[in-house]
């Protein structure tokens, strides 16, 4: 009673649908970069993170090396503790690496850029990045500029 060709076309339909989900996952979205399990975590303390978000990119020389795992307010220093998940294959990042928050393009998303240090020791799971530079908040920049201008005029 069950038609063979019906079964075959249904099989092809389901396969095509699942393939489409895979395409969306791997080709369209960033699932391919999700190798969290094999990565390691480091913490960087920023004075101000601006518009940085969980899952924002972390790059080094423009290459994506990890992503932001979580952001919490440090209760003692009132700074932001940003936990970064670095991909496992990038295990030769020096301990004196500096982290800064940049903006992609004028209106783009914010991301963390790492600049490699010179130490021979490499960052390990649980390490802290000491050298950080906060996000540039446009209003603050303009405010400082006006302030210094005013002082200079004095």
């Amino acid at each position: 009673m069950q038609n063979k060709s019906t079964e075959i076309t249904v099989g092809m339909f389901v396969a095509a649908g699942i393939a489409a989900i895979f395409v969306l996952a791997l080709k369209v979205s960033n699932l391919a970069e999700f190798n969290d399990e094999v990565g390691y975590k480091v913490v960087a303390e920023f004075e101000n993170i601006g518009g940085l978000k969980v899952r924002s990119a972390v790059t080094m020389a423009g290459v994506r090396v990890g992503r932001v795992e979580s952001i919490i307010l440090n209760a003692e220093t009132y700074n932001a503790d940003v936990t970064i998940n670095l991909y496992g294959n990038y295990d030769m990042i020096p301990v004196d690496t500096a982290a800064s928050i940049y903006t992609a393009g004028l209106l783009g998303e914010q991301y963390i850029g790492l600049e490699a240090g010179a130490e021979d020791e490499f960052l390990q799971d649980g390490d802290v990045i000491d050298l950080t530079q906060p996000a540039l908040v446009l209003e603050q920049v303009i405010g400082k500029f006006l302030f210094s201008k005013a002082e200079g005029d004095d």
């Binding site: 069950q2 649908g17 369209v28």
Partner: protein, 260 residues
Amino acid sequence: MIDAIRSLGRWGLSVFERLGRGHLFLFDTLKGVPELFLRFSLVTQQLFSVGVLSVFLILISGLFVGMVLGLQGYNTLVDFGAEESLGVMVSLSLVRELGPVVCALLFAGRAGSALTAEIGLMKSTEQLSGMEMMAVDPMRRVIAPRFLAGFISMPLLAALFSAVGIFGGFLVGHGLLGVDDGAFWSQMQVKTDWYDDVLNGVIKSIVFGFVVTWIALFEGYDATPTSEGVGRATTRTVVHSAFAILGLDFMLTALMFGEE
């Protein structure tokens, strides 16, 4: 005046009564689903008529929606010098919204109305009663397989729609308008998130598939067993599905993308 209030009350009561019946119907349907895995050929048959027969419509529509997005998006983005973000725009629009929603609307029109008409006719020609008297429960034999097939088909169709749509956007963006293909894909990959965008879109389409199939089957099963009654039920399936899809889309979007 009193009459108006009374008729409003009557209308309200009948709406609630139908809602109640609809939920009982859903409950009965779901009860029949587990045993289908022992007789999956029933579902296969329905996957064919519900899913496979909708593929062509979905692919063509998806391609064109994607191409239109490519054109429109380019014209908007180029003013900001951001045409490299075309890929992001196309993929996010499709994966988050248009894929699940347009696909569900098309599904309601193509497969939903067909399901309602089929069940309504089976009812009006006493085929459902006939089955009952042959000790074959139509909820299990007729309704449940169709429900499962609709539920499975919808996310697959929506994924096909989005994938083909993104391809259509790429054809127009890269082939016609000359957007750099590397930028198109890489920007898309950076900004399209698997959880936040793709998975949420898939969840939406699963919800829509559930609701549309439920509405279609219930309208058929509850139809007045006449040709006119079945005709009305078919119309109601399309209208109610459209309302349900758009309303739910708003709620789901608010839930998923609202808090950041």
